[in-house]
């Protein structure tokens, strides 16, 4: 068990909203004596002192040294254990300007608060019994969730869908283990062999369970795409119009574009959001032979980016020389879209049949279709939450699932080698323990329960 590293009885604060220009910002303060300390910067202090728990009050933040009013705020007052952390807390809603926020934070430090470490509010909530471990992990995800989609994913997990899925797998495994344990706990001649699972069936069952675990474990990878964004590289020959598409997708003209080939000598990166899914867009340098060492360097890095991307949008200049030949060189891949660009050009040749998307990055014609197709493919691959499946998001859960999966695979292999059941049971226990760590249950009594209810045993 990891021992919590933070102190737990001092005053902490943190900006709960992002460090960015926004209309409103939320500053969360927590710790015993938190309201009294905040009275040093809140005006009028008596209003804060008189406020009942779970109420909103209005007032001002004042610099205690100069007496200057820094901001007009509303604040949520929590007394007793009913706050997020389970401690006395105050949540200050301030205006979102960065200089103002800096000043408020400075005042809080003077009033005796310290900056909270990462996850410290959630840690206190956990330690104060306000949430269990799976939930605490999910909250961490919400806090750092990049977009709505990831948020939804985290919310689904909060409602316990990972637990439900793990419990389902564990349930099956428990029944299986009970059949094995039964044979260990009762002598051969005291159980009806007709009741018993056959070793052959057992292997099949173990394999099926292993597959369920693997599927759930894969969702971690998919959840990663949601949290960290889907990496999409724009690739293609020089002057195929990658930067134009990049800009089109970004709306704002962030990347430089010109008719001169090789303008993008390195790569550009931007984050956009497609129906709640974060996309990391890379505009890469065009691929061509070049003498310029700078450009060569850029092309090399572009190759790496393209190789590591989750999806590639490959652009072909429809007005160039031999676009059809270029398209023919590319095989169809699930993670690549071939775009037939510059359809607006009079020299544009008609797109060949097959999976090719006609497009004009300049006019925007065909962009919606490309986005639609991209979304469809991303969803198919990375959005289990949209499919209503559980998604695991913490590395701890993934590791535990992996441990369980390894134990089951070993059990299956051992079974093939004619291992006695008492050793097989060790593997099953390992798997059960790992799953139990996710759901917070221990197996011992449950196995017995199943033994007695499913099998007629005992002299």
């Amino acid at each position: 068990m990891n021992e919590p590293a933070y102190e737990q009885d001092d005053l902490i604060f943190a900006l709960a909203t992002g460090w960015d220009v926004s209309a409103l910002a939320l500053i969360r303060c927590s710790g015993p004596g938190c309201l009294e300390a905040a009275g040093r910067i809140f005006f009028p202090p008596e209003r804060l002192a008189a406020a009942a728990g779970q109420t909103l009050i209005h007032g001002f933040i004042r610099d205690p040294r100069t007496g200057d009013t820094l901001d007009e705020v509303t604040a949520a007052v929590y007394r007793g254990r009913r706050s997020y952390t389970g401690e006395e807390s105050l949540e200050i809603m301030a205006h979102g300007g960065l200089p103002g926020l800096l000043a408020i934070e400075d005042c809080l430090r003077r009033a005796g608060f310290r900056d909270a470490g990462p996850g410290e509010f959630t840690l206190r909530a956990f330690l104060n019994g306000k949430m269990d471990l799976t939930r605490a992990e999910a909250v961490q995800e919400i806090v750092s969730a990049r977009t709505l989609g990831a948020h939804k994913d985290a919310l689904r997990r909060l409602s316990g869908s990972v637990e439900a899925e793990v419990s389902r797998i564990r349930e099956t495994l428990l029944n299986l283990a009970a059949g094995v344990e039964l044979q260990l706990d009762y002598p051969e001649d005291e159980i009806d062999s007709g009741d018993l699972p056959r070793p052959g069936d057992l292997r099949g069952d173990l394999r099926t369970l292993g597959e369920s675990l693997a599927r759930l474990k894969r969702t971690f990878e998919e959840g990663r795409l949601y949290r960290e964004g889907v990496r999409i590289a724009l690739a293609g020959a020089v002057n195929a119009g990658k930067s134009s598409l990049f800009n089109r997708l970004l709306v704002q003209n962030r990347a430089l574009t010109s008719q001169e080939p090789g303008t993008t000598r390195d790569y550009l990166e931007a984050e956009i959001s497609l129906e709640g899914i974060p996309l990391l867009l890379y505009d890469t340098a065009g691929l061509r032979e070049t003498e310029s060492p700078v450009e060569r360097e850029g092309i090399e890095r572009s190759r790496e980016i393209t190789a590591g991307a989750d999806f590639v949008l490959y652009l072909i200049d429809a007005s160039g020389t031999g676009p059809a030949g270029e398209a023919a060189l590319l095989e169809n891949r699930e993670n690549r879209l071939i775009l037939w660009n510059k359809m607006d050009s009079p020299q544009a040749q008609p797109p060949p049949s097959g999976e090719v998307f006609p497009l004009s990055a300049l006019t925007g014609a065909g962009v919606e279709e490309v986005k639609g197709e991209l979304l469809r493919r991303i969803r198919g691959r990375v959005c289990p939450a949209d499919r209503g499946e559980a998604v695991i998001a913490s590395a701890r859960q993934r590791d535990l699932l992996e441990r369980a999966g390894e134990a089951l695979a070993a059990a299956e292999e051992d079974l093939a080698g004619g291992i006695p059941y008492d050793l097989l049971a060790v593997r099953l226990r390992e798997a059960l323990d790992a799953l139990g760590e996710i759901t917070g249950e221990t197996a011992g009594e449950e196995i017995l329960q199943r033994m007695f209810s499913h099998f007629c045993v005992g002299k």
């Binding site: 068990m1 021992e3 919590p4 737990q8 009885d9 389970g86 956990f126 330690l127 104060n128 019994g129 269990d132 471990l133 344990e181 044979q183 260990l184 706990d185 009762y186 002598p187 051969e188 001649d189 005291e190 009806d192 062999s193 018993l196 056959r198 070793p199 052959g200 079974l415 080698g417 004619g418 291992i419 006695p420 059941y421 008492d422 050793l423 049971a425 060790v426 226990r429 917070g440 011992g444 009594e445 196995i447 017995l448 033994m451 007695f452 209810s453 007629c456 045993v457 005992g458 002299k459």
Partner: protein, 667 residues
């Protein structure tokens, strides 16, 4: 008034727990007094005529390793012996013996009578006596005697407010025909102890001469017999067969038609019975799809003509019992000598006890056996031994001996009882132990003999014997590393190699062919070191003896045990090593001590339910706290933080070095 010169320790009850407790006290030098209602019924086997079995056999050997008596008693009185579960792996094999009930009981009494510090006395204890400051001072008996003692071990079995049921008949009894022990239960309750009701049952006995043996399968014991006791080299006892028969649809019809006449189903019995050992009416009702149940017909003794119908436990009216028994092949004309019956009795909620089995509320008062909610002779004896030994350590002013879950089934048993309590009669199962690979029966001596010796119970000879065995094991292991496999050394082409376990001629046919040993490619092993060859599935250590220098000399009983142990250590070394890593992790939590007087009110953040639970249980380690039902990992985190801060601020000046889960009797 009883006169006593030295300090007296009183043991209440003469069953399997009482026997071990009294002997442990007497053998560690205290004047012990065993009080029982009836000297004729010491060491009775009230139910099945056998000792041992899966997990239970391991406990008998653990008792023996610690210096207890049960293993020696069964070795001297067995009438059949078998190793169970040979095919299912080393960790779950266990010895079981059919006992001559009458000889067992008589032998137990002789041992007690010949113990020099021990006195037997016939009376009924009706209350304990406490002094002005609430200190334990002794017991009060039914005949009005006040007997002084500084420590009392209560082992009342099924007798405390016991009540026997057969159909519409019921009567105050602890065993059929024997009066219950009245008074003590209510007296303890008045003193604030929490008691509950449990139920157990036993089948009818029939006369051997009224059975048709041709209608039943005969079941013989193993030819090769392994003594339970590490101090015995051989068993010289008769071998009697058991018989197997089956119930049938007619049996089930009779039971179903009369089910309303069962005191269990009419609601007259409130106590909870064991799920794992259901009555025949329970089995018929709960598993209606089954058209037969297996019944074992077992002799009760060499000189007795009574037979025990294992599997037919019932509390239906006697005429119904007679009717359904006579539907079984072999039993058509069975003459019932004693009917089956259910017995309901008071038990103490064992969570009121410390891991030493001492009442948390009253130092010096110990409880052991079925009184604590267990079932089974072996579970009772194990507790009796630990309660007796700990009572002795208490009198000596020494820390208690608490066995951990990782070192003995006895540790698992007691930890489960005092940490989780029980709502049904608790029986030991191998699956209750997290580390059963380490708890094999043949390793009981190396796990526990030294602890028994340091506790003052085990003899110097036992320690020497263990040392000799250790050396023998080292010697064999050394040879296995250096000697190589020579194909020509094998006596015959090994067409049918022995099973991976050390097998014996009495072994039964494999029923689970797919898990039995694979065939071995012997020529491929030529030239390999023996240790490597032994790891190959299907190769047994006895197959390799001809290649082992001096191997032909390993024929003594001690040698066989040593060989068996080496074989398992080598074959399953990988698994054992993994388990040892787990045990290390486990021990870390076990040794994170919680002071018994910790103020849980001062631990911030605990939910009120958790706080109440911890206050009630007062766990001695974080490991134990984690096993209390309803305590969550977040509660443990809070406790950990609190304890750390407490240590830092100096509230707890010196963190004690002695972990609670470890042997403290070795001081």
């Amino acid at each position: 008034m009883w006169e006593s010169k030295g300090e007296t320790a009183i043991v209440v009850g003469g069953g399997h727990a009482g026997i071990e407790a009294a002997l442990a006290l007497a053998r560690t030098g205290f004047e012990a007094l065993l009080i029982t209602q009836n000297l004729e019924t010491i060491g009775r086997l009230s139910c099945n005529p056998s000792i041992g079995g899966l997990a239970k056999g391991n406990m008998v050997r653990e008792i023996d390793a610690l210096g207890g008596e049960m293993g020696k008693l069964i070795d001297r009185t067995m009438i059949q012996f078998r190793i169970l579960n040979r095919r299912r792996g080393p960790a779950v094999q266990a010895p079981r013996a059919q006992a001559d009930k009458f000889l067992y009981s008589r032998t137990a009494r002789q041992v007690l009578e010949n113990e020099k510090n021990l006195r037997l006395f016939q009376d009924t204890v009706v209350d304990i006596i406490t002094g002005p400051e609430g200190r334990l001072e002794g017991v009060l008996t039914g005949r009005g005697l006040r007997i002084k003692a500084r420590t009392v071990v209560i082992t009342t079995g099924t007798f405390m407010e016991g009540r026997v049921f057969i159909g519409g008949y019921d009567c105050s009894s602890g065993r059929l025909g024997e009066p219950a022990a009245l008074g003590l239960g209510p007296a303890l309750q008045k003193r604030g102890f929490v008691l509950g009701r449990l139920k157990t049952g036993t089948p009818a006995r029939v006369h051997a001469g009224s059975l048709d043996y041709g209608g039943m399968e005969r079941q013989d014991g193993d030819k090769e017999r392994l003594p339970f006791s590490f101090s015995h080299d051989r068993i010289d006892r008769p071998d009697l067969p058991c018989y197997i028969t089956y119930t049938n649809p007619e049996t089930h019809r009779i039971i179903r038609e009369n089910i309303h006449r069962s005191p269990l189903y009419s609601g007259r019995i409130v106590g909870v019975g064991p799920r794992y050992c259901p009555s025949i009416e329970d089995k018929v009702v709960r598993f209606p799809q089954r058209d037969r149940h297996q019944i074992f017909v077992e002799p009760e003794g060499e000189d007795s003509r009574e037979m025990y119908l294992n599997g037919l436990s019932s509390s239906l009216p006697e005429e119904v019992q007679q009717a359904f028994i006579q539907t079984l092949p072999g039993l058509r004309r069975a003459w019932i000598t004693r009917p089956g019956y259910a017995v309901e009795y008071d038990y103490l909620d064992p969570t009121q006890l410390s891991p030493a089995l001492m009442a948390k509320a009253l130092p010096g008062l110990f409880f052991a056996g079925q009184t604590n909610g267990t079932s089974g002779y072996e579970e009772a004896a194990a507790q009796g031994l630990m309660a007796g030994l700990n009572a002795s350590l208490f009198l000596r002013g020494m820390p208690p001996l608490v066995l951990s879950r990782a070192e003995a089934y006895i540790g698992v048993l007691i930890d489960d009882l005092v940490t989780r309590g029980t709502r049904e009669p608790y029986r030991m199962f191998t699956s209750r132990a997290e580390y059963r690979l380490s708890l094999r029966h043949e390793t009981a001596d190396r796990r526990l003999t030294e602890k028994g010796f340091h506790g003052g119970l085990q003899t110097r000879e036992a320690l020497d014997r263990l040392e000799a065995k250790r050396q023998k094991i080292e010697e064999i292991r050394g040879k296995l590393k250096t000697a190589r496999f020579v194909l020509s050394a094998l006596p015959l082409p090994p067409a049918a190699p022995s099973s991976p376990e050390v097998s014996t001629p009495g072994d039964t046919a494999p029923e689970n062919a797919e898990t039995s040993a694979p065939t071995v490619d012997w020529p491929a092993l030529a030239g390999r070191p023996l240790e490597q060859a032994l790891k190959v599935p299907g190769v047994g250590i006895r197959d390799l003896l001809p290649c082992l220098p001096g191997g032909e000399a390993y024929t003594g009983p001690g040698d066989l045990e040593a060989l068996a142990q080496v074989e398992l250590d080598v074959k399953y070394g990988g698994y054992i090593a993994r388990q040892e890593i787990q045990i290390k992790r486990f021990e870390k939590m076990e040794t994170s001590r919680i002071p018994p007087d910790l103020d849980y009110g001062a631990v911030e953040g605990l939910s009120s339910e958790s706080r109440e639970k911890l206050k009630k249980f007062r766990p001695l380690s974080l490991g134990q706290a984690g096993r209390i039902s309803g305590i969550r990992s977040s509660d443990l985190a809070l406790l950990m933080v609190h304890l750390r801060r407490r240590r830092r601020t100096g509230e707890e000046p010196s963190p004690p070095g002695d972990p609670p889960g470890d042997s403290q009797g070795s001081a």
